[in-house]
Amino acid sequence: MTSPATKPQDREAPRMTERTTPQFLGFTPARAAFFLVFAAVVALSPLVLYPIFLMKIYCFIIFACAYNLLLGYTGLMSFGHAAFFGAGAYLCGHAAARWGLSPELAVLSGTVFAGLLGLVFGWIAIRRQGLSFAMITLALAQMMYFIALKVPFTGGEDGIQGVPRGHLFGIIDLSSNTALYWTLAVIVLAVVALYNRIVHSPFGQVLRAIRNNPERARSLGVNVDRFKLVSFVISAAMSGFAASLKTVVFGIASLTDISVNVSTEVVLINLVGGIGTIFGPVAGSYIILSLEHFLSPYGPWLLLIQGLVFIMFVLVFRQGVVGGLQKKLKSHL
């Protein structure tokens, strides 16, 4: 904010900018390098880490990308994403366990259901901005939690257990952790690439313009509410997709998936990783889920440490890990 304006005479050698930087599928050289590092980590990490833990991270990366599209690029702060995560988890679990659908169709139904719920919630919430928007999403998500607690469909406190992994497209047996791991590895890389592509498209430009200055965007002829709603629905559907994958991996959909902790966790992941960045959701998911994983023996201390991390990032490191790197490298990551 405070960096001084570049004076014309300082600009003898033009800087590399989005105008002059070559791109391939939305990847600048810097983003491509980060993506390749991420792909290498995905390929090599199962040699040293427990694959189920890694798959959980991948589900949260997808969830966090969904959230960052809304917060980081459209400027809408939702406190209710647990509703979409939970809705996706429950419907995917129900479809696989009770309707006997194949995993790809179960995941698809979870995704579509979360998207439809996003359409309804978004339609209500985008009428207000800022804090009111956040509070409406929180209230709607708490209603969903209450419904999940009361209706028989969700299995109440037990959740939907014993969700079969099944055979992907009838061929790949997902009951093997190896097969499931590589399936998720491909999916998470594809989703991050797609997320990058959406952000760096003409549509992404509109979203970023709305985050920057919605009034001005409207005065230039942009139907701001429609774009907010589309962004909200994409985000909700992607969240449902992430939750559906998580249900396939763990074989269970439960109240944990729809509790308010899920909504705050996805905020925390993006805050630590970097709001309004491509690789922030990736870095944030690795950091936050590792903290949870390795500190879980200490029980309630985990919450205290998470709280301290949250405060630390809000106070002194608001741009997050990737946001900080981005500033150093002067390139959008």
Binding site: S3, A5, P14, L25, E215
Partner: protein
């Protein structure tokens, strides 16, 4: 007499019991530069907000080329060719200056929902965007983050962005406010230049600018039109002098 582009009848906006704009009639002719002047609180900016649809009118009608636009949203009105600039510079601070203008150019291309294409598909608009930046003396600032531009340049950037939509009717809300004398000269020249082939309505406090630029003037006071005509006609009108200076001088 040329054709009327913008026809306003009985435009009224209430805020509670207070009438900020009270039964305003306006006829803006094709191709003219029209000034809306008046003392502070006369309702000029509210009038602008009503014309562009950023505020709904309490009553009255607005017609653009014979078609009623009152009741449409600001985005729809902009799409029909009536576009405004703001009194306080309204830009996209995180975009470069070039991207600000290019974003407006993108609006004419129906590419807004293209999420599968690269943003590089927009580089075809760079030359047009640079041309507009050049017109406003901003070409050396093209790659600077818009939020880091000095004040006068932000104003210029906002006008460039507005012009990028190639509006038929251009509404400028105090285009020279807060500018140094040198910048005022440049913006005045620019307005004269862009007014060719379109209609300009501007709110302006700087009366020498109005005198030099505007063919016709409408004077507002307390939400009502108190005079209209050429600058010299309204300047000599006792009601105008009274509104500006108080009764003692009238």
């Amino acid at each position: 007499m040329t054709q009327t582009v913008l026809e306003v009848r009985g435009l009224t906006r209430r805020f509670g019991a207070f009438k900020a704009v009270d039964g305003v009639d306006l006829d803006i002719a094709e191709g003219e530069i029209h000034a809306l002047i008046g003392p502070n609180g006369a309702g000029k900016t509210t009038c602008f907000n009503l014309l562009t649809g950023s505020l709904p009118a309490s009553s009255g009608t607005i017609r653009l080329r014979g078609e009623t636009i009152s009741g449409l949203g600001m985005d729809r009105i902009a799409q029909r060719g009536l576009v405004r600039s703001y009194q306080i510079s309204s830009i996209f601070p995180d975009f470069t200056a070039l991207n600000n203008v290019r974003f407006a150019l993108q609006q004419g291309r129906r590419t807004n929902f293209d999420f599968w294409r690269s943003e590089l598909s927009l580089t075809g608009l760079n030359d047009a965007a640079m041309g507009l930046l050049d017109d406003l003396g901003l070409s050396d600032w093209a790659e600077v983050r818009a939020g880091d531009l000095p004040y006068g340049r932000k104003r210029a950037l906002e006008i460039a962005t507005t012009l990028a939509l190639d509006p038929q009717v251009l509404l400028l809300d105090e285009p020279t406010s807060g500018m140094g004398r040198e910048d005022i000269g440049r913006v005045t020249d620019l307005i004269r230049k862009v007014a060719a082939g379109r209609t300009v309505v501007m709110v302006e406090h700087n009366l020498p600018v109005v005198k030099g630029l505007c063919e016709r003037v409408t004077v507002l006071a307390r939400g009502q039109v108190i005079a209209r005509g050429t600058y010299d006609e309204v300047a000599g009108d006792p009601r105008v002098v009274e509104a500006y200076l108080g009764k003692a001088h009238a």
